[in-house]
């Protein structure tokens, strides 16, 4: 459970040491460049650069693959659709664009502590205080979302086990209802825990 959980991989590489703001700006720039690329060869070169960045960050192959894995079926479907309605170069370009953008976003989360991301987000959103938005609450929301992914995955695994034990593993209702109830219970408990830590004032 490393992919969408955005789990930080500790390290001292240059990518790790870059300031969060620089990483996010570079990510935005890189995604723009990916959109502008029109040749499959240029896209292949971009893929090479992304691979080099992962190698330089030394986060490991497993962590790198975990970033792509959640979108693999989406990428296959996207490729198929483009092949059906456009042509092979378009299918390669569009699918690579999505996969490389996801990989780069994954590289940022793998090499950046959530607390550093929260601090950067708070700084970036601070002008919105004037219109009544609380940057701390928004960054907390981001952190809780990341933290909740493994918790909900664990709840889903428990519900699936209980389904199997009762022989109803193919029932969507028997999966969805207890999962939603458990997730809501978890949300209630988390809210109470945040209050207990003095975060409701």
């Amino acid at each position: 459970m490393n992919g969408l959980t955005g789990a930080y991989v500790p390290g001292g590489s240059l990518v790790h040491r870059l300031p969060v703001g620089a990483k996010l700006a570079a990510l935005a720039l890189a995604c723009t460049v990916l959109v502008l690329l029109r040749s499959p060869w240029a896209m292949a070169a971009a893929g090479g650069v992304v691979a080099l960045l992962f190698a330089a960050s030394r986060v490991g192959v497993a962590a790198a693959w975990a970033q792509i894995r959640p979108v693999r079926w989406f990428a296959v479907a996207l490729f198929g659709m483009q092949l059906l309605f456009a042509d092979l170069p378009s299918a390669v370009l569009i699918t690579s664009r999505v996969v490389l953008a996801v990989a780069l976003a994954g590289l940022v989360t793998l090499t950046t502590r959530t607390s550093a991301m929260m601090a950067a987000l708070e700084r970036g959103l601070s002008p919105l205080r004037s219109v009544g938005l609380d940057p701390f609450r928004l960054s907390l929301l981001l952190s809780l979302t990341i933290r909740s992914v493994p918790v909900v995955a664990d709840l889903a695994a428990r519900v699936r086990e209980a389904q199997r034990a009762r022989g109803v593993e193919w029932s969507v209702r028997a999966f969805a209802v207890p999962l939603v109830v458990s997730a809501l219970r978890h949300a209630d408990a988390l809210g109470e825990a945040l209050s207990a830590r003095g975060l409701d004032d």
Binding site: R147, H186, A196
Partner: protein, 224 residues
Amino acid sequence: MIELVDVGVRLGQREVLRGVTASLSERRIGVIGANGSGKSTLARLFNGLALPTSGSVTVFGDDTRRHAARIRRRVGFLFTDPDAQIVMPTVAEDVAFSLRRRKLPGEEVRRRVEAMLGRYGLDGHADHPAHQLSGGQKQLLALCSVLVLEPEILVMDEPTTLLDLRHSRLVAEALRTLPMQVVAVTHDLPLLEGFDRVLVLDEGRIVADGTPDAAVGHYRKLMT
């Protein structure tokens, strides 16, 4: 110092606590009772997570109805399920998160977090994802995240219920060394060893209040 005067709590049609009066000043206080006897609600009254429907609860002289935020800064709370109280993805970040509102310099936060994790044997896990810890380690992390705020009172709601024997012992050992007043709601009777006072709850009322031996004896009779 916690004072409860004729406290009642009603949830919908159900009276969860009634006529509870107690003055809690001892260093180690246990609360035991059957499931549904009102123990967890009682614990939540101590830092304003639950409010009395009747009567009053005061902590260090502050009424929980009017000063809940101020009280929560002085009363830490450890929940049964550590997963529900770990907010940040990694171990050190979660402990540091507690200190955010203190606006301490980064170096001071780092120092306090390292010291706290070192004290409970989690220093080797500082950068690890919190969800990869064992149940006992998660509960110790949750404890670190509460203790780093240096509360004057620590309230624990069944802190060992989800833990195996080894991890229960770890939490029990941690509890023995804590310098502050501790109120522990528990089904884990060995945890009460060395406690100064134990309250027994039954159907929302305090039915026994005394030394651990006397209170546990009363509880055992109640359960037969």
